[in-house]
């Protein structure tokens, strides 16, 4: 049988022949991940299962990134549980404090994920690693605990929606705009139980970081994974991070797709997802008069160095509107340091930004930028559910780093070419 990327990767990790979508496949996992919100529950389930050791000390990764630096006593207690579990299990990869960053930016940077891997994480944006051609998907804490104990899990082989994107994108149109456009077209449930597979010349031209931004939001279309073939760029990215033995990986010619979608990247403006769902997507021009109180640049979607460079290019030598709080959170300590070296942080601070630590922070309404009732935020994050960033009466618009930076300057949502 000709395999899609999803089927092909699953096949590598199971003894059963994968012959049809919908089939249940028990697969060995390459890596299991959890964070300071989900790992405490995973540890609880792990012990309740009667497990005493993880399947492989090098393949269970715990990152305390959501409410850290610990925002209150309760979150400090949770991180303590995670730390103690990591120690009890003798884990090689436990990250906290100055070693921690937003998990989905951190793991690729550390070379912990790569093409052909199966990664399960107790975090829905685990799908980010699809940008590196890993079958990576989010699960709950107890599923993660089972994978930590057994080194395997079950999957229903997903049917695949193939998305071909061609053409040269206009200035300021990046990975975020492409994926928002896809979500706008297929809806928040459009890829429910399914795999998304991306290809086409616009994808070939896109950076590995841009691909991770896109894969990150596969879940916002309900998808199980968002996969990109591993090409020379992928291999270069992985080997620069110390990985060895990775190889090219592409879907088979003649693989069967449930549905195909073709998008002309050249026709797109920067995209914005309006409240309160990520599929409420419009071109930036249609959101022009939306006044904002806050702009957030960061997260596992758009907190990488490339995103910070895009934002800095827009902000350079300018000042954020006096009514806007601009918050920049580089996603990992490595990105932070790089941004410092390149002088990007200075540009942000000169623009009036608060530059914060590598944390999820306000993305999930945790801390460091919570919205009051009636407030509006433009964010480079991935979810704009009602109340996601604070008050139930606040509103979040999702956009790429160029639009977020430009909007911070203007005080309202605006095309980055207009500032």
């Amino acid at each position: 049988m000709k395999h899609t990327l999803a089927q092909k990767i699953l096949q590598r990790h199971t003894g059963d022949a994968i012959t049809a979508d919908g089939q249940i496949a028990v697969c060995k996992v390459s890596l299991v991940l959890a964070n300071d919100i989900t790992a405490p529950l995973a540890a609880k389930s792990f012990y309740a299962m009667g497990a005493t050791k993880v399947f492989d000390k090098d393949k269970v990764v715990l990152v305390s990134d959501h409410f850290t630096p610990n925002k209150d006593i309760a979150s400090a207690e949770q991180v303590k549980v995670v730390r103690e579990f990591a120690r009890a299990m003798g884990l090689t990869h436990y990250y906290e404090g100055g070693a921690a960053g937003v998990e989905h930016a951190l793991l690729p940077e550390l070379g912990l994920v790569g093409p052909g891997d199966i990664v399960v994480g107790a975090d829905s944006h685990t799908c980010t690693y699809g940008g590196l051609c890993a079958f990576a998907t989010g699960m709950g804490s107890t599923d993660a605990a089972a994978a930590m104990a057994l080194g395997e899990t079950w999957f229903k082989v997903p049917p695949t929606i193939r998305v071909d994107i061609s053409g040269e994108p206009a200035p300021f149109v990046g990975g975020k705009d492409l994926i928002l456009n896809v979500i706008g077209r297929i809806g928040v449930a459009g890829a429910r139980y399914k795999a998304l597979e991306f290809g086409g010349d616009a994808i070939d031209a896109l950076s590995v970081e841009g691909r991770m931004t896109m894969a990150n939001m596969a879940i916002e279309a309900g998808g199980k994974v968002g996969l990109f073939a591993a090409d020379e760029k992928t291999l270069a990215y992985c080997s620069a991070r110390g990985r060895t033995g990775d190889a090219l990986l592409a879907p088979d010619d003649g693989a069967i797709y449930e549905r195909r979608l073709a998008i002309d990247a050249a026709s797109l403006s920067p995209q914005v997802a309006c409240p309160h769902l990520p599929d409420n997507v419009r071109p930036v021009e249609e959101c022009r008069d939306v006044k904002i109180d806050q702009a957030v640049i960061g997260s596992c979607t758009n907190g990488r160095i490339e995103d910070l460079r895009v934002a800095a290019a827009v902000l350079k030598g300018k000042k954020a509107d006096k009514n806007v709080r601009l918050i920049v959170l580089p996603a990992t300590p490595g990105i932070w340091k790089q941004a410092l070296k390149e002088g990007l942080l200075e540009i942000f601070m000169d623009a009036g930004a608060v530059v914060g630590p590598a944390t999820c922070g306000p993305c999930l309404g945790g801390h460091m930028g919570i919205l009051a009732s009636g407030e509006v935020c433009v964010a480079t994050t991935n979810r704009n559910f009602r109340g996601r960033m604070g008050s139930l009466d606040s509103r979040v618009y999702l956009a790429g780093p160029a639009v977020a930076a430009a909007s911070a300057l203007a005080g309202h949502i605006i095309h980055p070419g207009k500032v």
Binding site: I37, K44, S45, G50, G121, M139, G140, R192, R386
Partner: protein
């Protein structure tokens, strides 16, 4: 047999609506339950009695992988959720935690907010005592039933690990 009142909610009810992030500083089912649906409507929990059902539109449980969402529902006394459809991670989590999900498609239209229902899981039948409508549904898939019968995934893995050399 399960019986209770129906509480109707809309489509795409996300995990931030079911249990907002600010309440994720505990793993305690009771505490989570006390704040169930705070992201949809503050004080929602006051209307719910143990054993009541949620009847939702499409894609119930979309968003994060937080297992705290099914736990919050269980903590609120909800044992069964009926919906047009469910989000994938939530679906898996719910059965792992012992929360029963029934995908009933357009059957939700025959249920009004506050209606009293009787649900026979084995027969695959919902009786709406308010209007007398009978709504059949596909029984829970066998693989999911197996996990439910073992009290969730914890019991399932425990039995597997018992057979392993230490």
């Amino acid at each position: 047999m399960y019986s209770g009142r129906a509480h109707k909610v809309g489509a795409n009810i996300d995990t931030d609506a079911i249990i907002p992030a600010r309440f994720l500083v505990t793993t305690d089912t009771g505490e989570l339950g006390a704040n169930c649906m705070e992201g949809l409507e503050p004080g929602w929990i006051k209307r719910v009695s143990p054993g009541d059902f949620i009847v939702a539109g499409e894609n119930f449980g979309c968003g994060s992988s937080r297992e705290h969402a099914p736990l919050a529902l269980l903590g609120a006394g909800v044992k069964v959720v009926l919906a047009k459809s469910f989000a994938r991670i939530f679906y898996r989590n719910a059965f792992n935690m012992g929360l029963i999900l029934l995908e009933i498609g357009d059957g939700t239209a025959a249920i009004g907010d506050g209606d009293r229902l009787e649900i026979d899981i084995d027969k695959g039948l919902i009786k709406n005592l308010a209007g007398g409508a009978e709504i059949p549904f596909q029984p829970v898939p066998a693989s999911m039933k197996e996990i439910l019968d073992q009290g969730g995934l914890v019991g399932y893995v425990r039995s597997r690990l018992d057979g392993q050399p230490a």
